[in-house]
């Protein structure tokens, strides 16, 4: 596999995963309103904050209004973190390396991109935002499911999946941070937030099934960071990331020390989570645990880039 192909695959994995996380989060946040009512403006601001850059928003709009916020977060291709931007990035990366993955996957992602690109905010509001977010999730699931169903399990598959899982573990952390930032005394609807958080990652039922009843920020954080069996937890994601790196070592005859180092780094991050006790995550320590996880994620991303992508390598003739 070529360096530039590895890079594209990794980013396809990351961007499709990011798009899914955004769609899930927005779906839940959009339908979450403070019980005792709040100013409409505050609601839309809260939603914009979830994934967007508020400074950028305020530069462009004078107030937080439903349609503007929805457009900003979903369809604004000049906003680098909008869902359309993520999908466009994934699609453009796939376009460069179409021959590496089954044509069905390209057709799905390109069809998805065209559908989203031609969508207007008025349509989203009209068809109900929930229906829209549902549509996004289903299309992303179709892409992921088809890949699972037909893609060859070679290096390119492992590259795609390692991008996906690294992105997922990072998203869990950012999600918890966004809720953790709300000061406790302002957290009137703390319970509602915590449930929303769980629901956004589709983990509410899993949480219940495991017989947990500590529906507080701490309890949910423990679940989303540590729960090995839940596929959207940080622990699960890092373990999957590590596994795909190891598979890549088996596939390629690249026995470079850089890959070994990256694998060790991933293994360390995963086992550190494994050693954490539930009491290690409390409201007081949560922030530092998340900070550390974020730093680890950044380190892993850099290690992957250093190992697999080498844009500046000299060409010898």
């Amino acid at each position: 596999m070529l360096d530039r192909i590895a890079e594209c695959l990794f980013w396809i994995g990351r961007y499709t995963e990011r798009a899914e996380n955004h769609a899930r989060l927005l779906d839940v946040y959009y339908h979450l309103r403070e019980e005792d009512g709040e100013e409409a403006e505050a609601t839309w601001k809260r939603i914009a904050e979830a994934i967007g850059d508020c400074a950028l928003y305020e530069e462009r709009y004078d107030a937080y209004r439903e349609n503007d916020v929805l457009f900003f977060l979903t369809l604004d291709w000049t906003q680098p973190n909008s869902i359309l931007s993520c999908v466009t990035q994934a699609r453009n990366n796939l376009k460069k390396i179409r021959e590496q993955l089954p044509a069905e996957l390209w057709n799905l992602l390109n069809g998805f991109y065209l559908w989203l690109k031609n969508m207007r905010v008025e349509e989203i509001v009209q068809m109900s935002p929930h229906g829209f977010f549902q549509g996004l999730k289903e299309r992303l699931a179709a892409f992921q499911g088809t890949a699972v169903s037909i893609a060859l399990r070679d290096e390119s598959w492992h590259m795609l999946e390692s991008g996906r899982y690294l992105e997922r573990s990072e998203n869990v952390v950012r999600l918890l941070q966004s809720v953790g930032r709300i000061a406790p005394e302002q957290r009137k609807g703390a319970f509602a937030y915590t449930v929303a958080l769980l629901k956004s990652v589709g983990g509410y039922e899993a949480f219940r099934r495991l017989g947990q009843d500590d529906l507080t920020l701490e309890g949910v954080s423990r679940f989303l960071v540590l729960q090995e069996a839940f596929p959207r937890s940080a622990h699960f994601s890092l373990a999957a990331f590590e596994r795909h790196l190891k598979d890549m070592r088996r596939e390629s005859d690249k026995s470079g020390s850089a890959l070994e180092r990256t694998i060790r780094l991933a293994g360390k991050a995963r086992s550190e989570l494994g050693w954490l006790d539930r009491d290690d995550i409390t409201l007081d320590t949560l922030n530092s645990v998340l900070q550390q996880l974020l730093a680890t994620n950044r380190q892993l991303g850099e290690a992957v880039a250093g190992t697999f992508f080498s844009p500046g390598r000299e060409v010898t003739a």
Binding site: M1, L2, R4, K95, R98, E99, A103, N110, E155, T316
Partner: protein, 484 residues
């Protein structure tokens, strides 16, 4: 209720050969297609067409038009028409034999001019026109091409006169484009109009990719069980990138850009995560000029430094070989029938369109006297660029062109206004008649040449227009060869 009831076959029908109608009669091989198309209501035709267009877009069967100042390059789908073009078995027999003959002669010509140059010594082709040609590569002199195959993949463009006889309009021997459209058109018609497709004995085209693949593998300079074949593309910003992806994926060969390749010890390698992998055959889809900055244009970043040396050392095969452009030049084209007689000692099966060389004073004066009836082309340009279509031109355009011809007569050829046959197309549910041509694809492998049954039918979507190139808004039709 026939098609003719709604839109009478235009009076042009006497001037041009209509593929479906013979006067007011439907030609027998079009009987079933005519019947099912005329049974559909305009709404049904529109619906069917919309569905097909949607699929083209979704599968990204696009070519890219670069435009400055746009956020994204413009991606356009090529207009696809739901009415197929049908070629009866006997007609195809002639086309196939004629194409094979032509490709063999052109390969023999290239082998000759890059070695003994007998045809120049015997005075059949003026030496000046070959040696002074901008596509002639002195670097190729006396280099052996494996199996004498200079042109592996070729596309021969055919048109029909008012009586329906086929003529060769031009040869494309450098990196002919359009394979992917043939396969996608077939796939669309098979999936989205199956009842029409399956009511005809249409010859399959899938085997061609297999043949293409083995032709490329057979070019390997060393006898390896698994030679490494790579397609060299200029990259995803190239207008034909979709085609490069398609061919690489369908034939299972590597798709590489110049920056993915490296030359070491006169061998070419792919730089991959797992180390270097030597390339045996390079099917290149970039022009000679850009292949190797050390040998050709020094400012090119699309190719690989050292490629021509590796080729000279016999460590890699380049397909099509560098320097094939000299044989598809629009002036050299005039001599192809001579080549067929000279090298093969055969009678040409497919005729050329009568062509005047502007470098011959009497022919030049003859043409300049009647520019309004002529199509003038610049010999080294393709894609519908640098053309004067006499009947559609203004007085002023003709004057400008005449001046250009006098200034540089070697660069121009002229042909009487070409006669392209017409075919019905579905235009927003209505039936209209438009001009079409046919690009026939062949792959050569040593002495044997294989021809893709059918090829690419290109449609000039503008009423009355004779320019079918996709870069100029031309469309395509699925092309059927009947097996009985």
């Amino acid at each position: 209720m026939g098609i003719t009831n709604k839109t009478p076959v235009p009076s042009l029908s006497s001037l041009y050969y209509n593929e479906m109608y013979d006067g007011s009669q439907v030609r027998p091989h079009y009987g079933k297609v005519h019947e099912s198309i005329s049974r559909m209501t305009p709404q049904e035709r529109v619906a069917r067409q919309t569905k097909m267009n949607g699929r083209l877009l979704e599968e990204g069967i696009t070519f890219t038009l670069s435009g400055a100042g746009q956020p994204e390059a413009l991606e356009r789908t090529i207009p696809f028409d739901l009415i197929p073009r049908i070629i009866p078995m006997e007609e195809w027999e002639t086309i196939e034999q004629g194409t094979k003959q032509r490709v063999r002669a052109l390969n023999a010509f290239l082998a000759d001019i890059y070695h003994e140059q007998c045809i120049l010594k015997d005075g059949l082709v003026p030496r000046r026109m070959v040696m002074g040609n901008r596509y002639f590569r002195t670097e190729m002199m006396r280099l052996a091409a494996p199996g004498g195959t200079y042109v592996t993949a070729s596309g021969i463009d055919l048109i029909r006169d008012e009586k329906g006889a086929y003529y060769v309009l031009e040869d494309n021997l450098r990196s002919p484009s359009g394979f992917s459209y043939v396969f996608k058109s077939r796939s669309i018609l098979t999936h989205d109009f199956p009842e029409l497709m399956f009511s005809h004995p249409v010859r399959g085209i899938d085997r061609f990719l297999q043949e293409f693949r083995s032709s490329l593998r057979n070019l390997s300079p060393v006898d390896k069980a698994e030679p490494v074949v790579a397609l060299l593309t200029p990259g995803s910003y190239n207008s034909a990138y979709f085609e490069h992806v398609f061919l690489a994926q369908q034939m299972g060969i590597e798709l590489v850009e110049g920056r993915d390749l490296v030359c070491k010890d006169h061998k070419i390698y792919i730089r991959s995560l797992s180390g270097l992998k030597q390339v045996d055959v390079l099917y290149r889809r970039i022009d000679d000029d850009y292949l190797d900055p050390l040998a050709f244009r020094p400012d090119s970043v699309l190719g690989v430094a050292g490629l021509m040396n590796a080729y000279r050392y016999g460590n890699i095969t380049i397909a099509n070989a560098p320097g094939t452009g000299v044989a598809d030049d629009k002036a050299i084209y005039t001599f192809v029938p001579e080549m067929i007689r000279y090298y093969l000692n055969e009678r040409p099966i497919l005729s050329n369109v009568p062509t005047y060389l502007m470098s011959r004073p009497d022919e030049r004066e003859h043409v300049l006297g009647r520019l309004e009836e002529m199509v003038v082309k610049e010999t080294s340009l393709s894609g519908g660029y640098g053309m004067l279509v006499g009947p559609a031109s203004t007085e002023r355009e003709r004057e400008l062109f005449a001046a250009k011809i006098r200034e540089n007569p070697d660069n121009y050829i002229a042909q009487p206004t070409i006669k392209l046959s017409t075919s019905p197309i579905n235009l927003d549910g209505r039936i209209a008649h438009r001009h079409i041509d046919l690009r026939v694809f062949a792959v050569a492998d040593g002495a044997s040449v294989r021809v893709l049954p059918g090829g690419l039918t290109r449609v000039a979507m503008q009423e009355g227009s004779l320019v079918v190139n996709s870069s100029q808004g031309g469309g395509v039709k699925d092309t059927w060869v009947l097996s009985r």
